[in-house]
Symmetry: C2
Subunit: 304 residues, 2 copies
């Protein structure tokens, strides 16, 4: 099965610590890279994790808070110095556009490639971008400013040809593409071989959802149903639930409650508050609701 | 003698590598901190080096290139989250002001302290700022955009009282402050004791100069005469001198030539091009002109 991997570049929150970097992830799907959020230091973390700059064409920004986008100017400048010429797309709530415009104007005169901005309506679920490998949808979140998560849905692959059956019915090579697209095969003597004899359905399309930053927000659940992997922020522990409410963040327990309600296959939490030196209590709290919750860490690779 | 230390936070150049961080230094003088340049990742490097955010009141930016200022928005945001309330001064060429205004507007609404911008005329030598500990002067450099270095001159301390002489002449305590300021002492019977009998001059004021980024520019030499420590960029080796000229940077040999002409006491070079995995050849080249040249590294502390 083609690769579908999520790389965690940073999973800290607003205050920097020596333990965690600001938010950034890279989805690696069929050899193309899609970045989600780009906190300060992201380009350096890409270098450390040996993630190739050249394969990145899309950056999705959740919201206009510094710990999710202060790495963008450096990343874009570096891509320019590396001689990139293909377009780079930045997707994000409308407010992000002003930020992008301002650093392009001040720092990126003569950039050898074009940066295109795609405004995302953070208040609704909707298609943000699609290519041959993936469709990306916005997921409305609840934060202090417009903010959305992103759902990555792998494009359904064509069914597999069953080699033995194709050989048995002597299907000519020129017919194989039609059969992959669902056609039956008609033998030279007029006999119809149903498509289902000749093909095996492809593996179901895999899904990854990123939900950060957000208060506890059960309205997102329908969009998360059946995802293979959910990254949900868990900035706080329940003992700091009041602080979570004030700042429109979630507790580990709340993240797990969302994951359970949506029936996701795997949950990974991150965006840890700087106040917690130890993360085991966050895992304990989430595990009580959603057993097997994973704690994100810098350098983590999650394969779907 | 009171502390005068230069901390090297980052000494790489525009392209990030896993070996070097973007430009930033902190001058620690009499327990106050003065930052020079603030590349991406500076705030995290401060944490790693345990440099106290609260003691920082002035940031000096050399020029509006990303590797010298992309860390500013994160630093200012973090100071806000830490509850700072004293003013923060940012000094730099006029163009830096637009950058500061734009990130303050987009990211720092409700900041609990005031950021003040002081425009520096990068084309001339002049006083940029002074307080009780230091005077900071701009040094004109030659780069692709307006860019200046900074000269830190410690405030001359008062002369030392010679305890034995003061006791001998029975100088009353109330006279000591006048004597420190240069007054002679007149004994009750009218005899004049010259100031020079009673005091010993303070150690000469120490000086540190930061010159980055710049092409080879001998016009800066008069401003550097007698400095205790010069940090001069040495982006390239002589074998890449053409590239140095094109990009308005210096070679290690050129940095050493400036240091020698100015008769500085110590030279430290940095702002290394990403192309050099090994720095020994840079040192070799500089040493041939200015023996004992130091290579900057992240975490280096230089005491004057």
């Amino acid at each position: 099965m083609a690769d579908f991997t999520v790389h965690i570049l940073g999973c800290g929150s607003a205050l920097p610590t020596t333990r965690h970097l600001a938010s950034s992830q890279v989805v690696d799907l069929r050899d193309k890279l899609y970045m989600i959020d780009c906190g300060e230091g992201t380009q350096l973390q890409m270098r450390r994790m040996r993630i190739k700059f050249a394969r990145l064409n899309h950056v999705f920004i959740s919201h206009l808070h510094g710990d999710h986008c202060f790495g963008l100017p450096g990343l874009v400048s570096t891509l320019g110095m590396l001689g990139r010429n293909g377009e780079l797309w930045i997707h994000g709530p409308a407010a992000v556009s002003e930020y992008v415009d301002s650093f392009l104007r001040l720092f990126c005169q003569g950039l050898p490639f074009t940066v295109r901005f795609n405004p995302v309506d953070a208040s609704t679920y909707g298609l943000v971008m699609e290519d041959r490998s993936v469709s990306v949808y916005s997921i409305p979140l609840k934060h202090r400013i417009p903010c959305c998560g992103y759902l990555f849905v792998e494009k359904q692959k064509e069914p597999h040809i069953i080699r033995e059956m194709v050989d048995f019915y002597q299907v000519p090579v020129r017919e194989l593409q039609h059969i992959k697209q669902g056609a039956d095969f008609v033998t030279p003597d007029g006999r119809v071989i149903p498509n289902s004899y000749l093909t095996r359905p492809a593996a179901p399309a895999r899904k990854f959802a990123y939900c950060s930053d957000t208060a506890y927000f059960p309205k997102m659940v329908p969009y998360l149903e059946g995802v293979d992997l959910l990254y949900h922020e868990a900035t706080f522990l329940e003992c700091d639930a009041a602080r979570a409410r004030e700042t429109a963040h979630s507790t580990a327990r709340q993240a797990a409650t969302i994951a359970k309600a949506a029936g996701v296959k795997k949950l990974v939490v991150g965006h840890y508050s700087a106040r917690y030196e130890e993360l085991a209590p966050l895992k304990q709290e989430a595990d009580a609701v959603f057993p097997g919750t994973l704690l994100a860490f810098e350098g983590m690779k999650l394969s779907l």
